[in-house]
């Protein structure tokens, strides 16, 4: 389905992503991990065509994505929705309008300027909000919602695009553990129920382990790990993060249960 070959992105003389290659043959949930600055966000932004790549190729179902221009590029963007760490909603507009922004690629500029969305789209937007458990907030302004609710509005906008791929760039990094869990569960459910591919940048190992079918580890712009969560041992994680022997997963965890489990992790670490 999605095939990335020798993808490289440079900013000036700094290489953010270097010769990244991987192939995803069926819809699954993929976690990309690595410390900040490892090139995770750059990779996702390249997949969404938010920024151009320096060299390499991305193909989805046989279609070349890199180098797309104009309408073809916007059409691709509508097929692979993006979710951001800071939600990136329009704060002064109401929740339903923000969700309806997911249809912008299909509607004319003039119609959207005058808020002329079809009734069926409005019904669908509210149904999606209900699926994510925030239908009651429909008429509120986006800025009035809590972080976890805003991220769910962002997911609703992504679903409104009816995309084949959902790219999530650190979707839970700005959320407290409770909301982080809700958002991750929502993403997992979307993958399982709709069969959409989800690629999420995560900065905690246990989240990647718990929700993802495949984990890609990046370090300094290169892929240094690519495998199942089971293969992601503490040793492999140390390699990804370039950490020493004092590295402990519990220290970075956002899971509530970790507090109880930290003993086991500590035992593993010192074993």
């Amino acid at each position: 389905m999605l095939d990335v070959q020798m993808l490289t992105k440079r900013f000036g003389d700094k290489t953010a992503v270097e010769n990244v290659s991987f192939n995803i043959d069926r819809s699954m949930m993929i976690g990309v991990i690595g410390r900040s600055g490892a090139g995770k966000s750059t990779l996702l932004r390249a997949l969404n065509c938010l920024s151009d790549v320096t060299s390499g190729s991305i193909t989805f179902e046989g279609q070349e994505i890199t180098g797309l221009k104009g309408a073809a590029r916007r059409n691709w963007q509508s097929r692979c929705a993006m979710i951001f760490q800071q939600f990136n909603l329009v704060p002064r507009m109401d929740v339903v309008s923000n969700v309806l922004h997911g249809t912008l690629n299909r509607r004319s500029t003039l119609a959207t300027m005058f808020n002329l969305y079809p009734d069926s789209d409005i019904h669908k937007a509210i149904e999606i909000l209900d699926r994510l458990g925030i239908a009651e907030q429909a008429e509120k302004r986006a800025e009035a919602l809590s972080g976890g609710q805003q991220q769910r509005v962002a997911i609703a906008r992504a679903l409104m695009q009816d995309p084949q791929i959902i790219l999530a760039d650190e979707p839970i990094a700005s959320l407290d553990p409770m909301n982080a869990q809700i958002v991750m569960q929502a993403l997992r459910r979307i993958h399982e129920e709709d069969g959409r591919m989800v690629i999420a940048n995560l900065h905690t190992l246990d989240t990647a382990r718990r929700y993802c079918d495949r984990v890609i580890g990046m370090r300094d712009g290169r892929v240094v790990f690519d495998g199942t969560p089971e293969q992601l041992t503490t040793g492999a994680a140390r390699d990804i993060y370039g950490a020493g022997a004092d590295f402990s997963e519990a220290a970075t965890s956002t899971e509530i249960e970790t507090l109880d489990r930290s003993q086991t992790y500590a035992a593993e670490t010192y074993a």
Partner: protein
Amino acid sequence: MTDAALTGATPSQITQIQESYLVQVRRRRMYGGLTLGIFVLLMVSGFVVADNRNAGGFWAGWHQIFDFPADVLSEAWEKRANLPALMVDFFPALLETINIAAASTLIGAMMGLVLALLSTRGLAKWPRLIPVFRRIMDIMRAVPEIVIALVLIFILGGGPVPAMIAIAFHTAGALGKLYSEVAENADLKAVEGLSSTGATWSQRMWLGVLPQVAPNFLSYTLLRFEINIRASAILGFVGAGGIGAELRNAMSWGPGRFDEAAAIFILLFGTIVFFDQLSSRYRTKMIKGQ
């Protein structure tokens, strides 16, 4: 814990939410349509009224709009050999115009700075006098430069000084308002820190506020400089000297000296483009961090 629940509302509640949102959307669309209708109506009726009261009439005259530029261009093209020499001749006048703009921007900016700090909430030396300083700036902005220039030229005689004063007066009011809006967002913690050391008001402003707001202030000042070049060229029309005076002479002479007019237009255009490019380069540099 409603936040945590992923289970949604019941189907009937959803229909209710959908209905109430649709009602809201329809109302919004109706208001939007009405506003658009009123806007179009006012524009059309206003145009008809204005056109009726016009001496010439829009429909009879609009195709003649390009006659004057065509005359100027054709004559300038015939005498194009003169243009470089004329441009050299008029260069001192251009310098005078730029000088007027530069001096008035500098003086206006200094006055504006003081007025802005005195009329910003949280920074003002006399908080009760904030409305007074605000009204002073309003008046400075409200009086057009050309009116002040005409009065001053009547009193002081023609020349660059009245134009400089007139533009500086307007600039102080305009920049004062922009500066004050920037200063309002300045972080007051630094000012508090300085006052804890026993600093005077001027020291607090100079050392605590200015370093924070300097890039924005400079950017607004450069923008104002561009505007003032245009303003000082216009004031030349009413006797303030500089390239505007030369342009008026050339244009009111009618056919025969249109090559001079063209040379001046080229000079003015070049100058404005030059300073526009220069200042926009520095402004982006300052806003995007040194």
